[in-house]
Amino acid sequence: MAIELEIVTPRGRALKETVDEVRAPSVNGEFGVLPGHLPLLAALRTGIVTYRSGTSEHRVAVGTGFAEVGPVKDDKGAETGETKVLVLTDEYTDREGIDPVLVRKELAEVQDEIGKLAQQDATQEGAAAEKTKTLITRENWLAAELELYGDPPPAVMRPYEQFGPSPTDETVGSEDEASQGN
């Protein structure tokens, strides 16, 4: 029994590995997957995915996205008994791919910009809100990279990374309202 871990980004398949355990950051908190896990579909926030094969642990950083856990099926659709973890994410990097100096520099720039935007426009509507959202997503990603590198970021991740539509959006039905609180 093992887990097939696959991480896919818009730039291609980033990682494919057979492992024994996977831990990933969902919007509700970190969750772990062991072989035989029930089918699960989770929204991921920016953070660190940890996977263990044997006794060695590896950590990689991922951006926002989704994780799908399910049984592996062969060509005929029969289940092989293995478990598959598929992570779809915007961003991916391992520790080797990080240059802490560059990341720090960009983080400082992004934070600067967020500060400026916040001062300019306290109400944060429309395009400004959109821009802030993009910047904060970027900031979180940079912070995650630094965390993976082992260089603790002075700026903690902002809990802004909201789930669901932008706050200005009123087209959402009331039955969803309860689930928007993340």
């Binding site: 896919v8 980004t9 818009p10 730039r11 291609g12 398949r13 969902s26 919007v27 509700n28 969750f31 029930l38 089918p39 699960l40 579909l41 989770a42 929204a43 989704f66 799908e68 399910g70 659709g77 598929l86 779809l88 915007d90 959109e130 993009t134 789930f163 669901g164 539509p165 932008s166 959006d169 087209t171 959402v172 039905g173 039955e175 969803d176 689930s179 928007q180 993340n182």
Partner: protein, 304 residues
Amino acid sequence: MPASLKAIRKRISSVKSTLKITKAMKMVAGARLNRAQQRIVSLRPYAIKTQEILQSVADSLRQGGDESESGNELHPLLAERPEKNVLFLLMTADRGLCGGFNTNVSKATFQAWQAKIAEGDATVRFATAGRKGREYLQRRGGEIAQDFPRMYDGLDLAKSRTVSSWLVSRFHKGEFDAVYLAYNEFKSPITQKPTVERLLPLPKPPAIDDDKARETAKSEFIFEPNPHALLERLVPMYVEISIFRALLETQAGFFGAQMTAMDSATRNAKDAIDRFTLLYNRARQAAITKELMEIIGGAEALKE
């Protein structure tokens, strides 16, 4: 037979320098095409998986609720409305020298536009990515709601996100009832197919007829946090990916078309050079013959 030798020589050298340019452009386009093609290939698994996940969430929601529950309750971006305000997003290249690449897709858009108007009282507006398409529509009096300039230099997901978030937010507000995407589908480096397809509302996932298939589709997923919230995130993501894919295909198609166009231009230039060289040689020989005749004539005259 025209032309002094000098005039022909001039023609030849001018065609030669054109040949150098077209050859270089062909090579550059070829190299860029390779890169663009690779990006399409690497995006593909991501796009397919996103679609699969979207499908399974939508399916499970449908099964959870009433069978008659339509897409409208699933997600606002799946909601069908009468198409009163229609937006066409036309993707062309910023530059020409690529055969009929820009014109074909622009024409296809124009036809779709006329068809929409003929159908009824629809208001049609346009958004454009690419200078050529914008100019084409402006010449024909199309109302450009938004132009996205310089999309193709350093095209990445963040750039396509600006397009998709613009579209999605306006669609949410009800500014548009339908959004169509017009782009060149990248079939192969030498063929691009102008395509106009509906982007929003998203086409409903096909209904599952077969009972057995329904059984397998009904895999008991645990959703975290819950299916509705997942859809909230998945659907815009899917739109984003679709736009990104179309932009990539446009870019790759442009390089392909440019390569093909420049290839035939190079060939034409070579033909022209051959023709002019022949002409030049003939003219040169004629001149030599004429001079000889004159000398011989002169010598004959002296003898007498």
